[in-house]
Amino acid sequence: MPPDQPATLAAWLRTRTDEQLGALLVARPDVARPAPSDVVGLATRLAVPVSVDRALDELDAATLQVLDAVLLSPTDGVPRTGLPALLPDVPTEVVDAAVGTLTTRALLWGDDDLHAPEPVRRAVRYPAGLGRRATDLRVPLPRDLPGTLADLAPDERTVLDRLAGDRPVGHLPDTTAGSLSPARRLLQAGLLARIDAVNVELPREIGLALRGDRPLGPPRLRPEPEVSERDPAIADRQAAGAALEVLSRVNDVLTALEEEPAGLLRSGGLGVRDQKRLAKELRIGEADLAFLVEVAHAAGLLDVGGAQRDEWLPTRGYDAWREQDLADRWALLAAGWLTSVRLISLVGQRDVAGKAVNVLSPDVVRQTAPTLRRSALGVLAEFPPGQGLTAPELLALLRWRTPRRADRLTPVPDLLAEAERLGVLVGGVLSSGGRGLLTGGEDDAADAMRGLLPAPVDHVLAQPDLSLIAPGPLVADLAGTLAVVADVESSGGATVYRVSDGSIRRALDAGWSAGELQDFFTRASRTPVPQALEFLIDDVARQHGRLRVGAIECYVRSDDHGLVSQVLSDRRTAGAELRRLAPGVLVSGLGADEVLTVLRTAGYAPAGESSGGAVLTRPKAPPRAAGRRPGAAAAAIAPRPLAPDDVAATVREIRAGDTALAARRTEPVRQVPGVTTASTLELLSRAVREGVPVWLGYVDAQGSGSQRIVQPVSLAGGFLQGFDEGRGESRTFAVHRITSVALADAEDAAAPS
């Protein structure tokens, strides 16, 4: 290593310009908060396994392959100029771009020679899909490896070739009696290593031997997906169709819930029975209903409410939403869906216990969902309008972009299907509304959709068969009234309502008079109100209210009507608040026991009566009120993105801290127990890498301090493993208990200072 080259990550970071450090903070925002005090602190943060994993997760397959090339090279430090030779099939500009990305993120460091920090080495478990070294797996390799491989049976060779592909770990098949499976024979031959009861791993050397002249596998270049094309105007119209459909359906669902709210399950969510009821009422599938309910919830139109907070009810937001024009309504739904942390596609799927997940259940919350939706749709937004990708093509591209997160891509096809239903996407192509939503948010989405959705109508067409047809989306006011006086028969672009004696009765119950109903229909209908409808209203109104129902607490009755009249006119019973309902029957709003007391005080001899008419000696015990349940928790808040000013300020702070640190740098590194600095880690990892013994100040679990010379073996997960030379045993040291550390020279090892 030339002397002018920085020796550690921290030293290298110190040589970076402010812009480069700023770029690092932007690329790995998790290390910037709270701001590290100096470069060493920054290096420590960069070494945190979670941070490394997150940074690696964001890399595409080509970049990861370049990283693999560095990780796989036998020496630490690969000359930059030597990289293209390691990746002969990858264009140089791709390699350069990848190196740029990796060094920006400090996943590789060094200017001429590229070094991989230890945490990165650990985070990449199987570089280039190769297993660990044979020595690490404790497998003795055969002397003549190529020869052994050439002599293998074809089925054994197939197994090895598969393991030499993307993933060096395989599952052992169940033992069949008699013959051994090829994997078990390979295990016996020492070509595979057993890592636990059921899994085996292919040692790196064998993998490399099988791969021949392409040790890094085939080049992982960006796939060239087949672009789907659609006339943007047609796509927009179709998106508008989907949008209209979803709007009218969501409205139907909420209207139905307004009439009869669904109960909140104890485990959260909406019960299967309510789901079935609503689906039946709206004549849609249960899965469709689940989608609509979730979309309404995501947009804040539906939430837990009611007197006991145990019902799913439309929110106040719903009332405001209904007043908006269709484009705004749609934008709210679409934006709610895009940012929702709930993965709707999980609803209805069975969990580990075999129980289906309920609609609105808290079990489907996945914090990654909004990012996933955005990244999937974001790829499509990179295409010009009218172009897009089918789900499989998009999925292939996403897999290439974030191969380490490929397992998180499972819900993507479902998410795309949801986007299609919402009108964000049409056949893999973003609609103008969807594009607006992604690039500009809710308002842009609404603006893009505006001209495409019909203006609301303020009238219906009444027909002699007692149907009312609203030839388009209705203004909120009229829709609200119609929901009371008529039943929806079919919805979509238009709404077909049917007036029946039941619906008229409902309106009368809601306080409408026959005259008001007649007026309403005359006003609302553009066609003359059919005579049959007028008669229906009058017929039902005539019958309405002929039976009266009221609530009383108790009654007083007697066959002796004279006695009853006497009780009623008796001044002393005024406290019982009695009122005559029929000859021989008085009623009171007071409880039976109170009325009994009043009557007894007044000198009468009343007896209590059971509901069956039998004489009771005592009235029943007073009822007890039901308890309440506490409310639900508040929603999670997403992290705030880093602003450019924040980045600059953080970089400035680091620089200042670093200057201060340089002034008091000493050897060995001493520290307060429990505070691990990056320099400790740096020193330890260097010792591990170079196989140099270190001198440790250590506080054990009982709190007693000690000094030891340790031959370090590995540093992982906050623990240093090594051979304690003083005590002659291998043991594990918690890094946070190390108080001081220095590299020990060979002569120091014998006599600790």
Binding site: A240, D465, A494, V496, Q531, D539
Partner: protein, 561 residues
Amino acid sequence: MSDGPLIVQSDKTLLLEVDHPSSKECRAAIAPFAELERSPEHVHTYRVTPLALWNARAAGHDAEQVVDALVRYSRYPVPHALLVDIADTMDRYGRLTLANHPVHGLTLTSTDRAVLEEVVRSKRVAPMLGARIDADSVVVHPSERGRLKQALLKIGWPAEDLAGYVDGQAHPIELDQSDWHLRDYQQQAVDGFWAGGSGVVVLPCGAGKTLVGAAAMAEAKATTLILVTNTVSGRQWKRELIARTTLTEEEIGEYSGERKEIRPVTIATYQVITTRRKGEYRHLDLFDAQDWGLIVYDEVHLLPAPIFRLTADLQSRRRLGLTATLVREDGREDDVFSLIGPKRYDAPWRDIEAQGHIAPAECVEVRVSLDDEERMTYAVAEPEERYRIAATAQSKLPVIRRVLERHPNEPSLVIGAYLDQLEELGAALDAPVIQGSTTNKERERLFQAFRTGEIRTLVVSKVANFSIDLPEAAVAVQVSGTFGSRQEEAQRLGRVLRPKADGRQAHFYTVVSRDTLDSEYAAHRQRFLAEQGYAYTIVDAADLAGPGEVNGPDWVDEPAD
């Protein structure tokens, strides 16, 4: 945004605004794949069903045309998912074909092996299939052809039937159009039927369904079996056939309880075919008695279940179903479609009325208030008695009399369901009563007298619901019915819809007891007619003015000559 006449609903109903300038054009475009469900005054409702889509495929329309028609005429953007669904549904048709194989006979062949595998494994279908010939085809027993098609339809893989029809024994039949002409819509109905092979023609009563049958026979030029509801209507068919075709009396046989003649054209009643003796159908041989080239089912909405089963065996013969209302109270419309064939022609009643082929009708519901005694009787009656008590209330009698007085010179029918009530009405109105026990001879005599004007008013039970032809009945008064049967209502209206010689209006009255089950049932029955565009006028019995009075008819009908 286009301003089309059509609105596509999520449940695949189509709303067509009738007053829109391009509604006619749109109707023509959607008719092949959507069924007319309701045709009230302003907005007609069509429904796109899988069956309708498959029929459209069978008739040579492809998904692109369907989607294009929807998109072109739709006022609002059509959801993409709905169009995809339509295309998918249509794509299911024709994966399976039924064809005659030179060696193996009738075979089911598939262009899609997965589909054939699914079908072969289906519990419903498997028993009807024979030996597997190769990966793509399987033998079908000829007698299972109908049932197989029915079963395949139910599991969603309709078969394209290319096996064709037997010609039957040829017999010369020509229409004799010397003094009349087949109307346009009748010709369209026949063409539609013939092109499709088999199927159902739906036309309102009085629109000349018999002539559609006669024209179909003239097209087939083969021996024909005609199945009718009863003997009187059978004779009616015979009269019409003799008058309108080259057939002579000797060529037409009657196969009924009274006579068992088998001739080149044989008219049989449903009743005789379904008569059982010792648990066996005695007259099934009729179907094999001749090599029939055409089977006509009159009033197919009444087709009894045993004939359904027989029809399944007759898939190689051409079948024509005729009806005014394919509303079956037993909900077996689908069986009619799959066994007789799909709907081949249908037209809104009001369209035909507008062309002058059926009489314009005024429908009036007269509300009668029961007197106190009747109300009390009604209030305390057992639930199963209530309708009868309300429908046969004495208070209706003066109202019925008043209604008939409004049209003093019109031939009138009083139609009811309860015999006691009919007898009473007959006595009170001095009119003969026709009911189930009236002999055919007596019936024909009375009908003849009614036709000539000798008798002005007839009181009829529900025997006259179907297929009696009373050309000049201009007024019908319905006093009681079979609960809420919509189909009965339509048939009864049909009694007065036959066009009148002078284009006069027909009158259809329903006398209903207010605030009882009677009015509830009436409302249910009226829905069908309201959906056909007949708006009921509701009048209080007290306001029912006589001729010349305020609110009464403007003119008094001229005496019929």
